[in-house]
Symmetry: C2
Subunit: 402 residues, 2 copies
């Protein structure tokens, strides 16, 4: 709740978008808490922050846990924050109890998971796992033309003198705790979600170029109305994704009109298309049809479409899923295995090392919304399962996770 | 061109929206020019600025001319500015030539003609002609929550110590020169447009309320997607206005989505509907159908619709049209009589006094666009016709305009 006060909105939610001053304030508060638990902070080239607790063998790859502190403009109090604070609590408890694990444990805060201010989302974990993407991410600008690089410099002024953490260092394993953001655990009356994988995502930016004209004098026949054309394109895309099973997730979430004046025929519309599915082949086919549909619906305007994210579905290793399931069983917590509908940083980490996720239920599956809400006992249960899994991994000299 | 430098855009146009700092700079420059011509400046409660040249009988109602200095975000260099500077030139010439008219002549700059930052447009002339609307206009806020009242205070600090001009004082007549903003004069190879009237306008704000939700986890069946619903509504409205004669002007010019984030199902869309027609009965019937269509297309969302402007078509008096036509004939300028598709401040003035408008051609009818362009000889021809009409009116002891 202390973190939720930073960027708190009137409606009870949080607006703490990536690399804003609010995001910086949140990180600063975490840094203070981490220092109280004697953790060693560091920062990498994309602004991911790490808090390391030493082990007996400090040359061994660390076990990593964490999530993100940035939110959507209409975010809730738990999305991302929960995974960070569950990891912090584990490290505080180890510190207080003076328990030493074999391997070091690193708590991580990934930069810009949401991808609302700067695209794509999961930017920090993507750059960490594939440092070749760093240069392009640094140049990425928000709607006001401010770049990631500029904001990272501001962040570093806020948290000066932190040691550099290298990109691309593979942990022994990465485990992320998170609220489900969907209705499955609630419907199944289960406390612990064993996440089987993450659904694939394709995100596109579509630009429709027409011609600005006076709305009072220009006949319909001579208009090139970018808004009416965008309306046609979105309608056609919606028709395309009407699967009877309701498994395709299709969202046009951002839609910007210019000049956006009541009496001016719109010259340009830019909008995003976000489409997700668990099946890689279905998603690839959808992507192809989306491109075709946008071009075919251009009318008198010109349409360009650019992929922003093309992420295949991820399947988490059975062995990691089993560790989580076993911990839940030992703690007599109900559990349910499910795929994640939302994207998470663990998606990228799974390319680098064994990875897994622990979900807890959230009220009616609502998130990215001020009404996001979680039961305190579920928060505690998820943190206990996370602690058991992390400690088990951190005490394993050899990790042979199938 | 000096005025066009204030708020100049990279593409060669002008962004000098109402009551911005740029608008203030433009007014300040005009004030300086007006003082050189010995005009007496004043300002009224809505920020309209007046520049009076005394006549022989200073108790007589003045003849008024002018237009506006504010622009659209993607405005051109001539829309509005032309009418102000043509009037200024006339007064400079009278000053230089030491000609004294019977009546005073007032040059006026109306506040917020465009209505893009603060709605409705023609706000200054509307408040001048109907002072009861002042209080509501002062409270009107822009997208950032800044009110007209706040910006008027800033304007007054910029031009301090100007005498107050009362609202509602009827001039002997009002004549406004303006670029056509349509293709008719160019197509007819005519230099002077005698404006027969102004088409009626209905503008609505439509708000579609859905529910923010996570784009990756929320099934289609449980979404209340405000954007997809708004797309349906705009499609239905477009079908409604498909007249084969292409005389209905229908524009959805402003369209705002929130939270406007790629992975969040939009919770709310606000958009404007601007519909215009020369025939009052057609326009009234359209307005009714627009309301019905918005409500009928609400789907799973809730829709509210609020009228912002309901303006009946205006017909300018024959006698005023004839004065303009006669002046054009005497100056051997080709002329053509046409209605105005765009709204203008003369619309409101026609309720208070005899009023009329002089159009000159603009390239391909383009306006509200950086490409707006006018031939210098047309600018000069329009100014000469304006001068002749204004002087004729200002020297008439009794105005009996049918």
């Amino acid at each position: 709740m202390e973190l939720a006060a930073i960027g708190a909105t009137e409606s009870g939610g949080v607006n703490r978008q990536a690399l804003t001053d609010r995001d910086g304030e949140g990180r600063l508060l975490l840094l203070e808490w981490a220092r109280q638990a004697n953790l060693e902070p560091s920062i990498d080239a994309i602004g991911n922050m790490f808090f390391r607790r030493r082990g007996q063998d400090n040359d061994a790859a660390p076990v990593m846990t964490g999530s993100h502190l940035d939110s959507e403009p209409t975010g809730g109090r738990f999305d991302g924050v929960y995974g960070v604070l569950a990891g912090l609590e584990l490290l505080q408890v180890l510190h207080d109890a003076k328990i030493e694990t074999l391997r070091p444990i690193e708590l991580v805060v990934w930069t810009n998971e949401e991808g609302c201010r700067f695209q794509p989302g999961c930017m920090g974990s993507a750059a960490y796992c594939d440092p070749d993407r760093l240069a392009q991410f640094l140049e990425t600008a928000d709607a006001d033309g401010i770049t990631v690089d500029q904001e990272l410099q501001a962040l570093r002024r806020r948290v000066p003198n932190l040691p550099e953490h290298p990109l691309g260092m593979a942990p022994a394993a990465f485990i992320e705790a998170h609220i489900e953001q969907g209705p499955v655990l609630e419907a199944n009356k289960s406390t612990i979600g064993v996440v089987s994988g993450i659904q694939g995502l394709r995100r596109y930016n579509v630009v429709v170029d027409g011609e600005a004209a006076h709305g009072g004098t220009t006949p319909r026949a001579t208009r090139k109305d970018a808004l009416l054309q965008a309306v046609d394109i979105v309608s056609a895309l919606r028709d395309l994704v009407q699967d009877p099973e309701d498994t395709i997730r299709f969202t046009v979430g951002r839609f910007l009109v210019s000049p956006n004046s009541p009496s001016v025929v719109p010259a340009r519309v830019e909008f995003t298309v976000d489409v997700r599915h668990n099946d890689a082949a279905t998603l690839t086919a959808l992507g192809k049809k989306i491109l075709e549909t946008c071009v075919a619906s251009a009318g008198r305007c010109s349409v360009s479409i650019e992929p922003v994210s093309l992420v295949a579905p991820v399947v988490f290793r059975d062995s990691v899923q089993q560790l989580i399931r076993d911990a839940a069983v030992r703690q007599r917590l109900s559990h349910f295995t499910l795929p994640s509908g939302a994207g998470h940083d663990a998606r990228h980490l799974a390319q680098l090392s064994p990875a897994g996720m622990i979900f807890i239920p959230c009220l009616h599956g609502i998130s990215h919304n001020a009404a996001e809400s979680v039961e305190p006992e579920h928060l505690a249960a998820g943190a206990r399962v996370l602690a058991e899994v992390i400690i088990e991994l951190a005490d394993s000299p050899k990790l042979t996770l199938a």
